[in-house]
């Protein structure tokens, strides 16, 4: 079975929302411009947390390209098969130099589907030699079954002790396929079973397999612990699948999810939900305080979301070619109203809740 591609990216469609500045205009206008809702800056000023500043760098997140075999409706990257932005080996070499010397304990490869970068395996092989404690690859699962050349990915991940983090929006076919494309659920189940067969996700295994849940629409994720129990029970009963942790991630109003919110007339209500669920204690631990995000072309960002909004770090060091961790850590983090997505409820990050 293959994944049915029903859509193209906003970029391919030359949609206005493919432009970062158009998205930022929306996020700063309307209910935030007329004062109906407080801006994120105003909100964090209430608790003396403005400007937001980094703490110790813990995670280097590298986006190796926006190409993906899926076109998920909620994708903040606007990834898809038609995206051609792919990290070159030259930029990867610059990243490897940084990885060798960084104080970060986690390396987090993301995309698109990172496996589709032609240099992906060479990069993983080289990066794994640096001795980083936690080496994450964000795999969409279906890529493992997308083409014969990817069938051995579970063995490759195991060989390099990669920590696999995979999206799985629901334990039912209907909800999963609606968000991620027809056929995604069955392929994901097959891929999870293959990972389990290699030892990934098993209770006492060091081969880490975590799943990422994000809501199927204009609502916030529920309690992460409760959802994890539900996922574990259902996936075990229905398919004999095991995994370690579930990360509940809030959809941020960026790119295709923003497009969906506007088209479905849910935008204002969703922003109200985010603002009403604002949790000041989540602010202290938002991922931009311990992460640097590197784009396919080597630019540096506070997080993957700011990368998609083209909000480069507010630092003299803006590119991997000039990388300097001390200088980078001495910066103000760039914020806008999308940041409410990371501070709602129990907070949200690429590693799940933060509060």
């Amino acid at each position: 079975m293959s994944v049915t591609k029903t859509k193209t990216s906003l970029h391919k469609r030359h949609d206005d929302l493919a432009q970062a500045n158009k998205q930022l205009d929306i996020l700063s206008g309307g209910i935030f411009a007329d004062g109906e809702l407080p801006t994120f800056a105003k909100k964090i000023k209430e608790t003396n947390q403005f400007p937001l500043r980094p703490k110790k760098l813990e995670i280097l997140q590298i986006n190796v390209g926006y190409m993906c075999n899926q076109v998920c409706e909620h994708c903040h990257v606007d990834a898809g098969p038609d995206r051609k932005e792919i990290m070159t080996w030259e930029t990867m070499e610059q990243c490897l130099e940084v990885i060798k010397n960084t104080g970060a304990h986690t390396l987090d490869l993301t995309g698109g589907a990172p496996e589709m970068n032609p240099h992906f395996r060479r990069f993983v092989e080289e990066a794994s030699k640096a001795g980083i404690k936690d080496f994450i690859v964000r795999s969409n699962l279906t890529i493992i079954r997308a083409n014969k050349k990817y069938y051995d990915l579970p063995d490759f991940f195991k060989k390099h002790n990669v920590h696999v983090v995979s999206s799985m929006p629901h334990w039912t076919r209907g909800k999963t396929d609606k968000q991620r494309g027809e056929g995604v659920f069955d392929l994901s189940i097959k891929a999870l079973q293959e990972l389990n067969e290699r030892g990934y996700g098993m209770p006492d295994s060091d081969l880490r397999l975590d799943l990422v849940y994000n809501p199927n629409g204009a609502y916030l994720p529920s309690d992460q612990t409760g959802m994890e129990k539900d996922f574990k029970k259902a996936l075990m009963e229905d398919f004999g699948i095991q995994f370690h942790n579930l990360f509940a991630i809030t959809n941020l109003p960026i790119a295709r999810f923003l497009d969906y919110l506007i088209a479905s007339e849910n935008y204002e209500d969703y922003m109200y939900q985010l603002v009403e669920a604002y949790n000041p204690s989540a602010v202290a631990n938002v991922m931009c305080t311990n992460t640097i995000s590197i784009s396919w072309d080597g630019w540096l960002y506070d997080c993957d979301f700011n990368q998609m909004l083209d909000l480069k770090v507010n630092s003299k060091v803006k590119h991997i070619s000039d990388y300097n961790e001390d200088l980078l850590n001495d910066r103000d983090i760039i914020i806008s109203q999308h940041c409410y997505g990371c501070t709602a409820g129990a907070g949200s990050s690429c590693q799940g809740t933060v509060a």
Partner: protein, 111 residues
């Protein structure tokens, strides 16, 4: 007065009812919050009960709130509709079971 009795935006103002009666409002919301905590029933089971009751009460605010709440808790459309049918069955059953009163009365009145 607005042109319509119900405005979806009013749901966001629910918490403001405490402003005109702080003690009672606060007690209500404390009670309400406690009711929906995990207990002998899970929070999801409670949300589904709330969704069914929201429909039998035909409360638009409650339907809005608990549709979203059950979705957040990973409840499927099929489960949500089944819950509403439970409410509908009780509602119609409650109507029909009163038919026994009518039957009793008819039996008493008729020779």
């Amino acid at each position: 007065m607005a042109n319509t009795y119900y405005d979806p935006a009013d749901l966001r103002k629910f918490g403001k009812i405490t402003e005109w009666s702080e003690e009672l409002g606060t007690k209500f919301f404390d009670y309400y919050g406690k009711v929906f905590e995990e207990g002998a029933l899970t929070a999801r089971e409670k949300a589904l009960i709330a969704l069914a009751v929201a429909h039998t009460e035909q409360c638009p605010y409650c339907i809005d709130a608990y549709t979203k709440d059950t979705l957040q808790r990973g409840v499927t459309k099929e489960q949500m509709m089944e819950a509403i049918h439970v409410g509908a069955a009780i509602k119609s059953g409650a109507t029909l079971v009163h038919g026994t009163m009518m039957m009793n009365k008819v039996n008493k009145l008729e020779m």
